[in-house]
């Protein structure tokens, strides 16, 4: 009989669980959501020493089974076999931070008390050694009554031994070890006392060595320096997104252009060739070129997370967030929303206070997600001159930064208003562990970046691909009579006329109106639909070669372009975000509210921008 072979990683947050998971499973990972909830389910294949595969699940970090957040609730249910649709893991692998045993052993005892086949990974033992701790895994193993394997996930030390221990524990599970009786129940103070004794017994020697992170914290958490350092860091991040990505983006653009030329030269003209060059390549290609910028943005966010700085950023921001009725905990979901609002909204699960969480969900779409980046980048490159305004500070980067700030500022004001109106409630709390600093490892960074890039490319390959083809068809048919422009004659053109009537007062032209509708599916589609529109619009074959950027520069006035930027700061233009908000708030009420207020803000601010720019004579 074949069994579903599974093991689950459990442990406190910041025990290095995810690094260990990456090291054990490598690229053989699958990320999905647990059915019914939006907590991420990370599972991967671990190859046992026997060569057989075993499914390894990485559970959300927990401090206790006495769940305080939805994340911890998932861990508790999976470990107890109470999660619908999830099999009871046969082996529990407890991950401990070797340098923080006294704390981590409290939860470990709770897990071991279940009486299930268990293995302990004494992780980050190198950091413990750096801190001057010498540990005795054998003593710990004896005290806990389960095997203890010292590991350094990031340097792949102890992994083979751990896999072997898991395999051995799994055999016990198969032999009916799973019906072992739960051991005696201890209260929290009793477990804490026991943890202290065990930790003391496991530490062979401890030298008071200077610790790197206290020194770093003195600077990074300095009452006056902390805030400017964080802001400089964020500013550098946004400058880098613009500056470093350029050569890669140019290369990709050239590549797409070359493929397009090759298609034109190789295949006979006709419907299919036009669909490929004007529809697919013009549309999808114009989005794919933004991959480098998105990768750079995610790289910064992942490094901040992996290094331990992200929690500090939350600490630094708590005071400011408290002013608008939120806590520093909202800062992390909001910062991840810069990459994409979907994981951002999902990350609000770590916020225990419901009003706090609702407010954070409602303002998350105002954070400038990476899907806006293609739109911003295109318009900025087209209408903002590439001049420097100071050493290392370009005007284009500055405008981009201003757009991000506009989104943040908008979110803060909206949060303040929401906290006083629809999400009234007492001030929220802020309690958070500040993990020790760690050098981020390239391998983990690589896996994280690859997963994010893949999600983006998949969007480009599915939603954007489909939207582009549909739009191209709508733009191409019916064919124009001689003397009539193709866009005016097409179905899309007629639809756009209706939308245009609504957005004309705020300075939008027909092509923009045309782009707004498919961009509801995903913001970056705006770029591909502009590309497709202009590709179809130019009857002249030579004109088609003109880059989209140049088209925009030639056809849009500056006030119009600025209004378009302002629109994208606020407009709710992503169906997935609305869907996630619906799932997270359990109904249509809040997502509808969100969509309504965002459209209102977008319309007002785009209009204001347009009229001010016109009045200023731009």
């Amino acid at each position: 009989m074949t069994r579903q072979r599974t093991a689950a990683l459990v442990g406190n947050p910041n025990a290095g669980k995810s690094a260990l998971f990456n090291a054990l499973t490598g690229a053989r990972q699958k990320i999905a959501n647990y059915p019914g909830v939006t907590v991420e389910r990370k599972a991967g294949r671990l190859i046992l020493p026997s060569g057989e595969p075993l499914e390894l699940i990485d559970l959300p970090g927990s401090y206790s089974f006495d769940a305080a957040s939805p994340d911890e609730e998932v861990t508790r249910k999976v470990v107890h076999g109470e999660f619908p649709g999830e099999v009871l893991p046969e082996v529990l692998v407890i991950v401990l931070d070797a340098a923080n045993l006294e704390q981590h052993l409290v939860f470990a005892q709770e897990v071991i008390a279940l009486g299930r086949p268990t293995v302990v990974a004494l992780n980050m033992i190198d950091l413990a050694e750096r801190d001057g701790l010498t540990l005795d895994p054998a003593a710990l193993s004896q005290a806990l009554g389960v095997p203890v394997i010292p590991t350094v996930a990031v340097r792949r030390k102890g992994l083979a031994e751990l896999a072997e221990a898991i395999a051995r524990a799994e055999v016990t599970a198969g032999e009916g070890g799973a019906d072992a009786q739960p051991r005696q129940h201890m209260t929290l103070p009793e477990r804490r006392l026991a943890a202290r004794h065990m930790a003391k017994a496991a530490v062979l020697s401890e030298s008071a060595r200077h610790r790197l992170h206290t020194g770093l914290d003195k600077v990074l958490l300095h009452p006056w320096l902390g805030v400017p350092i964080l802001f400089v860091l964020l500013f550098v991040m946004f400058q880098a997104v613009f500056a470093w990505a350029t050569p890669f983006a140019d290369g990709l653009e050239a590549g797409v252009g070359a493929i397009s030329e090759w298609v034109v030269a190789t295949f006979p003209g006709g419907f299919l060739r036009d669909l490929v060059t004007e529809g697919v390549l013009a549309g999808v290609g114009s989005v794919v070129v933004f991959l480098p910028q998105i990768v750079i943005l995610f790289a910064f966010i992942l490094v901040m997370e992996a290094s331990g700085y992200m929690a500090r950023a939350a600490y630094i921001m708590d005071r400011l967030m408290a002013r608008v009725g939120l806590s520093g905990k909202s800062f992390i979901p909001l910062l991840s929303s810069f990459a994409c609002a979907i994981p951002g909204i999902m990350a609000t699960r770590s916020i225990a206070d419901p009003k706090d969480r609702l407010t954070t969900i409602l303002v998350a779409p105002l954070m400038t997600c990476s899907a806006r980046l293609p739109v911003y980048a295109l318009i900025i490159a087209a209408v903002i001159p590439n001049t420097t305004v100071g050493p290392g500070v370009g005007l284009q980067g500055l405008v981009l930064f201003a757009l991000y700030v506009a989104g943040i500022f908008g979110a803060m004001v909206v949060a303040l208003v929401l906290r006083r109106t629809v999400a009234q409630g007492s001030a929220s709390g802020f309690i958070m562990e500040l993990p020790r600093y760690q050098m981020p490892r390239l391998r983990d960074l690589g896996i994280g970046l690859w997963q994010r890039a893949w999600v983006f490319l998949r969007r480009a390959g599915t939603i954007i691909f489909m939207a582009t083809i549909v739009l191209w068809v709508l733009l191409t048919f019916p064919k124009a009579e001689p003397g009539e422009s193709q866009i005016d004659a097409s179905i899309a053109g007629r639809l756009a006329t209706g939308v245009h009537a609504v957005v004309e007062p705020i300075g939008f032209n027909r092509e923009m109106a045309l782009a707004l509708v498919p961009a509801m599916a995903a913001r970056e589609v705006a770029v591909s639909s502009l590309a497709t529109t202009y590709a179809v619009a130019s009857d002249d074959e030579e004109e088609t070669a003109m880059a989209l950027e140049e088209e925009v520069a030639a056809r849009w006035s500056l006030p119009t372009a600025l209004a378009f930027l302002a629109w994208f700061v606020f407009a709710p233009q992503c169906l997935s975000t609305i869907a996630v908000a619906r799932r997270e708030t359990n109904g249509w009420k809040w997502p509808m509210f969100m969509v309504g207020y965002l459209f209102a803000l977008a319309y007002v601010f785009a209009g204001a921008t347009y009229w001010i720019a016109v009045a200023a004579g731009l």
Partner: protein, 79 residues
Amino acid sequence: MTLDQLDHGQRATVVSVDWASLAPEDGKRLRAMGLDEGASVAVAHRGMFGGADPLAVTVGRMTVALRRAHAAAMEVERA
């Protein structure tokens, strides 16, 4: 003396916690992190903008950020 009044770097022991003054979720979280009666604590960092909020407190080998309101609920005794 309560935890928020403790001098920077001074070690102290938590002697009592006014759990009733804390939101139940906050109390649960503090306890899970080991900020409980009997814990040995020290204030490592004080908040930004001179408001001394939030605080970063070391408990064991862990650093925990918490608000002044939480710290004020914890009666401490200098070690």
